[in-house]
């Protein structure tokens, strides 16, 4: 559907110029120079010929069919241009001109009007305020960037035009090829989602790269990315995390769940590879573009020196990969072909006097070992080694058996020519072994993503209608913050077990209630004005007799009144005490872009001090819920350490899924905390001892 952007048969350059230094000059020059095979129609009312081509006074003066229009004139002409496009049946525009939304309210107004009109007319627009785009296979360079990259299988889209120029320049230097190069600009109409979809089916693209500053419709983005990433790797660098919406979140869990967490979770769930830096972005891209994906995580290291080999081995451990252990046969063959002081075990050290042949022989043995999924070849420039020769041999063996080979030729001057050979022969080289190992980690994660079965979701029979009614009533009463009393009822409609509880207005009632509940028990203040009951001395646990009930009643009610003189005290709830078990926290905060973000962590200091929590975007798949539980560092505490009984992880997982169902059914929940959920021993279930819910305003 975006075909006319990439493979147009004819292009109009609206605002073509004969004056060097002008954007209209550079764009036209790039088009001509890139050997574009279609027709080019410069439009400029003041000239009859520009850069050797016939120029037209207006679009309407061109008699041929036009597929693509490049807009390089001031913003105020855009609406008129759209009218002309309609007349000429042009449905694709690259708006390079600046002066729109990015310059203030006047520009924003034009951009809004442009978008409305274009939508009506079914015209698609890239930009405005962008660098343009390049398609190396159709030889289209519709940008004003200096230089055209060589043909390759990496597609790159970027929200920053400046970054585009820098990267183009760098790619030229490194000899990295691109299939498509797209500058998104203001993303007024076309954005990352459209190009992801297009590139997924683009045969010349093997890897999709992106640089994004903001993601508008996070949920749609996830949906599309999840499909695309099953076809080819999608690697994205995302900068500028904070959004106003995330800051608005109020509770402590809210402040934990900033939008950076959402992005991390969203990318993970959509199979997007996140690159923290532009450097990583290209490190990863090169590997995916040039080498096969490893089938497993067993990595072999081949080096002509001890130190770097050991560093690489450490990195393997750090990145939770496995150091491959060779078959007996490989070991024997390595032993017989290498000098006796060489190390034939992984990391293999073929020692300082190794020549290109020794690299060849050892790599051949290693790469064909069935216990190896990928090889890192490290070379330090000794006096004896023919670096270029070694590079040739390594490159020739790479991809044997469909296994990836990455290189780390260390140094600068003496390895330069060798690296050129590697580049030409498509073996990615990394300055340091750790970077290469990190790349293996990323590739192996991607393989796991490809292997993972499609996400499965579980739904439970719940009382959704009832919850709807409770929310509607709360809304009518302008009660948007629901405390424990209401929240208990809501989550129990979704299958959460809650401790029995009775509201008592006086100490006498409290004693009567206590007899019904049974000792030991818990007493809590009930007040719509008090959300953190413990903070005001409003919670007493382990109450064992009527006498203690009376004392606790007095203390809870008077303390609460003292802290908040205006608090409406509705009474004290007398609650069954859940004995034994581990306290965990389930939280939800709604992210403005991605929707409900679910948090899980172990209660107390684990969440509050150590921030040991995991996040996923709802709806959670069964796998998501499982991963959330296992991902936290304190997971061993849940599983049971030193002969302790394991906690009921099945119940915990089910509750995460039920929670996900609740917040998916009711998107107007902006915050929800179940703190604590007390998880008992395996088979004994879990109890939500406290909960609160905040509904969206309006």
């Amino acid at each position: 559907m975006l075909k006319n952007f990439f493979e147009p048969k004819s292009v109009v350059v609206l605002g073509a110029s004969a004056t060097p230094g002008k954007v209209g000059y550079d764009v036209l020059k790039n088009l001509i120079k890139s050997n574009y095979r279609g027709e080019i129609f410069p439009v400029n009312p003041k000239a009859s010929e520009i850069q050797g081509l016939r120029a037209y006074p207006s679009i309407l003066d061109i008699n041929e069919d036009i597929d693509l229009l490049i807009y390089i004139i001031p913003p105020q002409f855009i609406l008129k241009t759209l009218d002309d496009c309609k007349k000429k049946n042009i449905d694709s525009i690259i708006a390079i001109s600046a002066g729109f939304k990015e310059t203030g309210s006047a520009g924003a107004k034009i951009e809004r009007e442009m978008l409305i009109k274009a939508k009506e007319m079914n015209i698609r627009i890239l930009g405005p305020n962008c660098l343009g785009l390049i398609d190396t296979s159709s030889c289209l360079n519709a940008t004003f960037a200096p230089g055209m990259p060589s043909e390759g299988n990496i597609a790159f889209f970027s929200q920053s035009g400046a970054l585009c120029i820098a990267i183009l320049d760098w790619a030229l230097g490194e000899g990295i090829g691109f299939s498509k190069f797209i500058s998104l600009g203001n993303k007024s109409d076309l954005g990352e989602i459209d190009f992801l979809k297009y590139l997924a089916d683009d045969e010349s693209t093997k890897v999709i790269l992106g640089y994004l500053e903001g993601i508008e419709d996070g949920r749609a983005f996830m949906r599309v990315a999840r499909e695309v990433s099953k076809k080819k790797p999608v690697i994205i660098t995302k900068s500028g995390g904070t959004s106003a919406g995330a800051k608005a979140a109020s509770s402590h869990t809210g402040s934990l769940a900033g939008s950076e967490k959402s992005i991390k979770a969203a990318f993970h769930q959509a199979g997007i590879i996140r690159a923290d830096t532009v450097n990583d972005l290209f490190n990863y891209a090169l590997a995916f573009a040039c080498q096969p994906i490893p089938k497993g995580s067993r990595i072999a290291i081949l080096s002509n020196s001890g130190g770097p080999g050991i560093m690489a081995a450490d990195a393997i451990e750090q990145y939770k990969l496995n150091l491959a252990s060779f078959s007996r046969e490989t070991q024997e063959q390595l032993r017989s072909s290498l000098p006796t002081i060489a190390s034939i075990y992984n990391p293999v050290d073929i020692i300082g006097d190794a020549d290109a042949d020794r690299y060849h022989k050892s790599l051949e043995l290693i790469i064909n070992d069935p216990n190896v999924d990928g090889v890192l070849v490290i070379l330090t420039p000794t006096a004896v080694i023919d670096v270029q020769g070694a590079a040739e041999k390594v490159a020739n063996l790479s991809s044997e058996n469909g296994k990836p080979v990455l290189a780390s030729f260390m140094g600068k001057v003496s390895v330069e020519k060798g690296i050129k050979v590697l580049q030409r022969k498509k073996v990615p080289n990394y300055n340091y072994p750790e970077s290469a190992i990190k790349v293996f980690r990323i590739m192996s994660d991607y393989q796991n993503w490809l292997n993972a079965p499609d996400a499965s979701y579980q739904t439970f029979k719940v009382r959704q209608k009832k919850v709807g009614t409770i929310f509607a009533k709360a809304r009518k009463n302008n009660l948007l913050k629901l405390g424990e009393q209401e929240a208990r009822e809501i989550i129990s409609c979704y299958g959460f077990k809650v401790p029995k509880s009775i509201l008592a207005l006086t100490s006498r009632e409290a004693i009567l209630a206590a007899e019904q509940i049974g000792y030991p028990l818990v007493m809590k203040i009930v007040s719509p004005d008090i959300l953190h009951k413990t903070d005001v001395g409003g919670v007493k646990v382990d109450i064992e007799n009527a006498h203690q009930v009376e004392d606790a009643f007095f203390e809870i009610t008077s303390k609460s009144r003292q802290y908040l003189t205006s608090a409406t005290i509705l009474g004290v709830s007398i609650q069954e005490m859940v004995a034994g078990g581990k306290e965990v926290i389930l939280g939800v905060s709604k992210d403005p872009q991605f929707g409900p973000l679910i948090m899980f962590g172990l209660g107390g200091i684990y969440v509050e001090v150590l921030k040991d929590v995991s996040f996923r975007i709802a709806p959670l798949s069964v796998k998501d819920a499982d991963e959330m539980i296992r991902e936290i560092h304190s997971f061993p505490l849940l599983k049971g350490v030193r002969g302790e009984q394991p906690t009921d992880l099945a119940a915990l997982k089910e509750y995460l899924l039920r929670l996900s169902q609740l917040v998916t059914d009711f998107p107007d929940i902006v915050e929800l905390d179940i703190n604590p959920l007390i998880v008992k021993a395996e088979g004994e279930g879990a109890f939500a001892a406290d909960a609160r819910i905040t509904l969206e305003e309006g």
């Binding site: 402590h252 413990t534 009643f553 008077s558 009144r561 802290y563 003189t565 005290i569 509050e608 001090v609």
Partner: protein
């Protein structure tokens, strides 16, 4: 024997401190003092009995011998409130009269701690108005004039009390408003036969809060400096500006607390390097060790709270000016201010009291 009711136009006007200051002065002038808090609104348990925090405070400060049950015959608890709604409460007035008779024996002046308005307590049959009438008490009305003088309330009180209102005291008056009050407000009241017995200025120290109180209100955790918990805080700063600005502001005022996110090391440092009484770190974010070491070196207590900066500021805001004066230092200062700023000659004359020689 003179029953003297200390009443105020709104809650938190400074009645307890006033009772204390007047009591001390009366004692020094040779009077025998009793104190009665007919309706205790700050329940607290002392040993087995439920009583009122004010009563405990005054009992100690004035060295009174009567038991707490007599100083405060009725305490407003949750149970009492619910019973009152259910119509199950009767005879509270009798309890108060009994207590009064017991404590007043052989005394010259009975200080009665009133409520936040003359009508407070009507619900339980114990309004100040009624108590004033029943005991034929003279009344001193205390007004918190920090923002403005509550003229309406004062005039209404005069209507209700007539000549039993012996005068008013304006409390917490900011220094720049004192002239206005002298020139305009006092004459206004004099014309209506209301005497102004004193103007107590807003004192930064009296208005301060101790590091310990702050920690308790915020439910915070001491990361360092628990031993300095009696240090007093007079001002609050919120560290949301940039570090250069922060230093500029911070160095200008001492006895301050700085409320700042635990993730703002620059501001924390600025606070630690200027005269600061306490640093409150919000968001449950621990500072790094360098900052902790610095706090130790500067002997500045650091409190970690879970709330974000905004909620923390709100809490502090709500509580300021509502604290009970407890610290020795503040009590002494309060008593001194009262003695200095109140026209006792006029007070004694209006109350019909004659100074005795202290025995």
């Amino acid at each position: 024997m003179l029953p003297l009711l200390i009443e105020s136009t709104e809650s938190y006007a400074g009645k307890s401190l006033m009772c204390l200051g007047l009591g001390l002065k009366f004692q020094r002038d040779g009077f025998k003092i009793a104190y009665l808090k007919p309706l205790g609104k700050s329940p607290i348990k002392v040993g087995k009995i439920i009583t009122d925090e004010d009563a405990v405070f005054i009992q100690g400060a004035l060295h009174l011998d009567e038991p707490l049950e007599q100083l405060c015959p009725v305490v407003v608890t949750q149970d009492l409130i619910i019973d009152a709604y259910d119509g199950k409460v009767r005879g509270l007035d009798k309890k108060v009269v009994d207590a009064y008779q017991k404590i007043s024996r052989g005394k010259d002046i009975i200080l009665i701690g009133g409520g936040g308005s003359l009508h407070e307590g009507t619900f339980l049959g114990l309004s100040s108005l009624r108590i004033a009438r029943d005991f034929q008490a003279k009344v001193i009305l205390l007004d918190n004039a920090e923002h403005e003088v509550n003229v309406d309330c004062i005039l209404r009180a005069k209507e209700g009390l007539r000549n039993n209102l012996i005068g008013i005291i304006l409390n917490r008056v900011p220094p720049h408003r004192i002239d206005f009050i002298r020139q305009r407000v006092i004459p206004f009241f004099q014309k209506r036969e209301i005497d102004v017995l004193g103007i107590i200025p807003l004192d930064p120290l009296l208005n301060s809060i101790s590091v310990r109180e702050l920690q308790q209100i915020l439910n915070g955790q001491f990361l360092f400096g628990e031993e300095y918990d009696t240090d007093l805080i007079e001002k609050f700063f919120v560290g949301s500006m940039n570090a250069d600005k922060a230093i500029e502001y911070f160095k200008k005022s001492k006895n301050k607390a700085v409320i700042v996110g635990g993730d703002r090391p620059d501001i924390i440092l600025a606070a630690l390097e200027t005269p600061t009484a306490c640093v409150v770190l919000t968001g449950g974010l621990y500072p790094n060790d360098i900052l902790l070491a610095k706090a130790e070196e500067m002997k500045i207590p650091m409190i970690l709270v879970k709330d974000d900066t905004y909620s923390t500021v709100q809490k502090v805001d709500k509580i300021l000016g509502r604290l009970r004066v407890k610290e020795e230092k503040k009590v002494k200062l309060g008593a001194k201010l009262i003695e200095r700023e109140i026209n006792f000659t006029l007070l004694y004359k209006k109350a019909g009291l004659k100074k005795k020689r202290k025995r």
